[in-house]
Amino acid sequence: MKKETRANLIKQGAIWAFIVVELAFFSIAGEFLSVTETAFMDFDNMLLLLKQSAPIGIIALGMTIIMINGNIDLSVGATFALAAIVLLDSMTWPFMAAIGDWAIPLAWGFALLTGVVLGAINGLIVWKTGVDAFIVTLGSMLGYRGLVFMYNGEQPTSHLNWTLVDFAEAQFLGLHTATWFLLGAALLLWLLMTKTVHGRNAYAIGNNREAAVNAGIRVGPHFLWNFMLIGFLAALSAVVFYSESGSVNPNDGMLYELWAITAVVLGGTKLSGGYGSIISTLGGVIAIQLLRKGLGHIGADTETVNLVIGLILIAVLFLDRQLNRKGREELKT
């Protein structure tokens, strides 16, 4: 038992160790390479880091659950954009404009509902047709993006509401609004995955779907709930982010799915399902954001950023594998 716990710690600790390495590297390199005076490890900068991790982070949390299920969702970027459009556009509807600031929570509600509905569509298709989630969501990645464009042509959808912006920019106990949402969502989902029947079933299904079916778990509805959840979270991410920025381009959120998946895998969740953790995903998200921020801090140019981010991803994967090796006598398959 002791040995296993330690092994587990190492398994899940890789990403945190990597974060520490990143912090150390950028702090030191920053001293020499950065043209600005402020230190990288500045407290405010770390707070910003959390805040900036929120948009992809909230989505990645949902992606963790989907991937623990053994599915994947490639449509979250488009869901994010569509929810944002609903959020911003709904505030301009006449009846909404009439109710003043009450429009804000209502608009949030509409946006979140949009996310849930889009997620439900994916979930229903996966459930009822039995088509693999990868294909279903690859399709809806296109389809939802099409809806985004249909909504407002090629124009951005904008509604700048300063009350909303002030709320989104506010800091409570030092943490930004977005950070609160990120951490809150992480906490709730962590509870969901570790403490509830639904969460445990999610692991069981991803681990051995046939066993779960044989044991009488209703896999179809379970998938549906989780797709609705990730739809909700993609919309929540949009709500948090666009409350602050007030305008959405129809291209927004493109590639978010890939970044979210990357964060989840960096956090150690198995792509094949059945294994993973919400907290480690949070680590994955922070590690990526830290990398971006740090590279900017030391003045790396675009091509270097691309090159380095790509190679680092691979390096982390490699490290993680080395840490998890069982030793020389391991079966060589």
Binding site: L160, E169, E244, S245, N249, D252, T302, V305
Partner: protein
Amino acid sequence: AFGEAHMDTYTIGITQNNVGVDSYQTTYEQAFIAAAEANDNVEVVVLDAGGDVARQIAQMEDLIQQEVDAIIIWPTNGEAVIPAVRKASQADIPVIVTNSNIAEQGFDFVASFSGPDNITQGSRSAEIMCDRFKELGIEDEAQIVQISGQPGYTTAIERAKGFEDRLPEVCPNVTLMETQPGDWNREKSQQVMEAFLVKYDDIDGVYAGDDNMGVGALNAAKAADRAEGITFVGATNFAVGYEAMAAGEYWGSIYQSPVDDAEAALQTAIDILNGEDVPFLNYFDTPKITQDNMDEFEKPVF
């Protein structure tokens, strides 16, 4: 010596839209860095948002946090960055918008805009097209198609708008049959044009949102042996466009230099930091270029 030198050195941060996406932006970046290096009094932090508005806002926050002296922003979305720009202005950091402007609501927080006028560019392209049709005597029957830039981008939208608004004013009888996006991509544009050629037997003109796409369309037409009868007009004269013009295959474009663009932005920032008076809308000129007057222009370097 370090400390002293620092006293008169400005640190200027820039966050660009999407550097990897085309050579205009890359050249802009290089020109910007070169201009900064030539000037002993500035240090620059160059960031690229990769087309992602969230990343750009994060970069704005980072620059504010790093306490740079001025921020230049090439907005990924002219409205979404307004709150971030406000934050900068609240932190007393002057913000200069470059290349494409932010929305009016944000003007209060911006020191100056420096860049081309995309709407005017669109109108000018319409004029080039119309003038050519008049020369050819087909201004009353000409049919054209449009290949626009990446959907959703301000530059794409503004150019299309400028073109579509101006064309009926100068050539009311020319019909714009269809518009499809070419995503600033030569290959995509070539595919779109191939489909247009199958679909329409008679195409007299093609307006492309930039020369990359224009040349893509030209390639498609050449492959179908129909390039002869078509007037190609683009924008942002790239080297490929210039060459095609020299070869007599491509009619006209808008001359816009990323080097001018970058240098103007940096200069505007420096002027503002030096407390000089700068106009709020600091457009640099982007003239028409056609086969007729191309000798007056140097071949673009990008």
